[in-house]
């Protein structure tokens, strides 16, 4: 059984947010609720200050705290390594949002940051939160995987495009978007990334490119002190840095 993981090369990433947009389209996200987002950081001060950034999907942790806290087992880890939410079990208690150290989860029923509220412009029916004019075909929607337009009252997050990767031929070491046979099974953000900063493959397969990159280019996991052990690795190389990820810095007096 594969154990899917992602590698993001920060030397190649331009912070263009194409992945964010691709994810929005693929997964019918509400504005601002970016399952995949790019975070920006200021480092240092003028004249040596610089801007750094970090693309951030769900880390699909090996040891996911969101799974452990979920009182209904709505959030679960699949055999092939993805962390999914079963929208038929989720009670919207939001404990997983408290417990995820990477802040990747969203509760759909919150005040929209942009107006008009798009959910009121395209009101949902048959249990859907809204009815986006362009949306994933109905046969791909799978509530047990947390795939498709979201129902009301549940939490959502990146599912590694499980509707795509779960269809990949067994034993594939890497889902390479440049291979026409595999393109449809590759996560949307990986397919769309123009500088090919994203790699997706089987972390347990010794032949996979992702494994090779992690080993040769010293892949790191973020916030490793949490013990969550992400399955998304970052490569900083020589030209990039992993930003100091602290969001609020108290003034030193």
């Amino acid at each position: 059984m594969a154990r899917w993981g992602m590698v993001i090369d920060l030397e190649k990433c331009t912070g263009c947010q194409a992945c964010t947009t691709a994810c929005q389209m693929e997964n019918n996200r509400l504005p601002g609720e970016n399952w995949q987002d790019v975070l920006f950081y200021n480092e240092g001060e003028y004249p040596s200050g610089k801007l750094t950034w970090l693309p951030r999907p769900c880390m699909h942790c090996e040891n996911p705290s969101c799974v452990a806290v979920c009182p209904t087992k709505a959030t679960y880890k699949t055999e092939d390594g993805a962390v999914l939410i079963n929208w038929e079990r989720c009670i919207g208690c939001k404990y997983c949002m408290i417990a995820c150290p990477y802040g990747v989860r969203f509760y759909a029923e919150e005040k929209q940051k942009t107006q008009p509220d798009i959910r009121k412009v395209y009101p949902g029916d048959s249990g859907k939160m809204w009815n986006p004019p362009y949306r994933m075909p109905e046969h791909k929607r799978n509530l047990k995987w947390g795939v498709g337009v979201q129902p009301k009252g549940v939490v959502s997050k990146c599912n590694f495009c499980y509707h795509r990767i779960s269809q990949a031929p067994k034993g594939t070491p890497d889902l390479d978007p440049n291979d026409p046979k595999l393109r449809d099974f590759t996560p949307a953000c990986v397919v769309t990334c123009a500088p090919t900063a994203r790699y997706f493959g089987d972390l347990d397969n010794p032949k996979s490119k992702v494994r090779q990159l992690i080993a040769e280019k010293r892949g790191v996991r973020l916030q490793d002190q949490t013990g969550n052990r992400p399955q998304v690795y970052y490569l900083a190389g020589e030209a990039a840095t992993i930003p100091e990820t602290r969001s609020v810095r108290r003034k030193q007096s």
Binding site: F40, P71, T72, C90, Y95, G103, Y107, E109, L222, T226
Partner: protein, 410 residues
Amino acid sequence: MNIATLTTRSGLPLLDFNSRPDPTSAFMMLAGAIAGGIGLAAVFINLFLDGHAAFNTSSDMAWGAPIAYYLFFLLTSSGLTIIASLDTVFGLRTFYPIAKRCVWLAIITLVAGFTILALELGHPFRMLWAMPTALQIYSPMWWMGALYSIDLVLLCVKFYLLHTENWNSRLTHHLSIVSFVVCILAPGTLGLVFGMMAMRPAWYSPVMPMYFILTGFMSAVAFVVFFTSLLRRENSAAAVVREHRRADEQLLHLYDMVLPRLFFVTLLAVIAMRVGQIITGLWSNYEGMEAHWKALESPLFHIEIWAGFILPAALMSTNALRANPKMQLLASVLFMVGIFSARLELLIVGQQVPLFKGYWADYVEYTPSFTEWMLVPAGFGIFLFLYGAGNWLLRLSESRVPERLPEPAH
């Protein structure tokens, strides 16, 4: 079967419809019905129109005021069960006269808390099957749900036993022991829900369960002091005797000495614990702990510390002050307001520093929305209505008949 005609063993009516409600109970029922009605109506209408977008919570501040109210009621309930157990488990005779009242208060605070929770969850009804079938033993919330459900059932049975004059039976004693254990475990696991979250450093603490049990006990003492000082508005021993239908030195001792002292000493313990938390928070450099500095700017923090802790401690600091029902009333109200702010402050502190949202994100700001505020009259309305009704129909001042007292259990 007409419920109005059912009686207990000694022929007392199960529900005392024949007596007229005293003015205080009648007022409470009326005020409770009005506040609860308005609050619930406002919440239902807004939830119907906007769903949970009617709340000011967000993906960064996922748990807001409703969870704070819920904490307030549930922890108070557990504290009340502890007080009731001082009599029924540990045989402390002094507490007999308030045992039954405490059990009733514990039940209705749970009901108010659960109602608020149901309005906060995305799918409250789904919870009824999804939690029992999940058996997710790694989730502190799962344990919390299980223990509080057991707690409610045990309290109802215990109240029924006391109400049907089974004060001295073996069953009551054993049930009280189980209920006591559960009412320690339940707020303890609720403490774990917050205290185990290492990714939320401002909450992460192995003493969080102890803090919840202690502050729950303290708010229970404040509730009891409040409601018993209401009984004695006339500030006379006669009122107590009339209420309990017997003259008893012990009763006055309980109201004038024991409860206010318990209030004072417990409050000192709460203050000591809180000071420890604050100093650790301000000193630490760990990411997330800067929220403690931010808290200093919040009025909630100052209401908690000055109005809720320091002032009541001063008001209860001498024997003369402690024996004065007006001071008792004031101190208990102040503490309740303070601990109410403290619950909300706790919720905010843990989430104020956003997790992993980039350097462009700042402290998460949060003030409850109108709908969230309306949960306050909703919760307290339900509570007051049920308390008034209990006071009228359920003989809450009743206690064990003195001559049948056994020796305190060892």
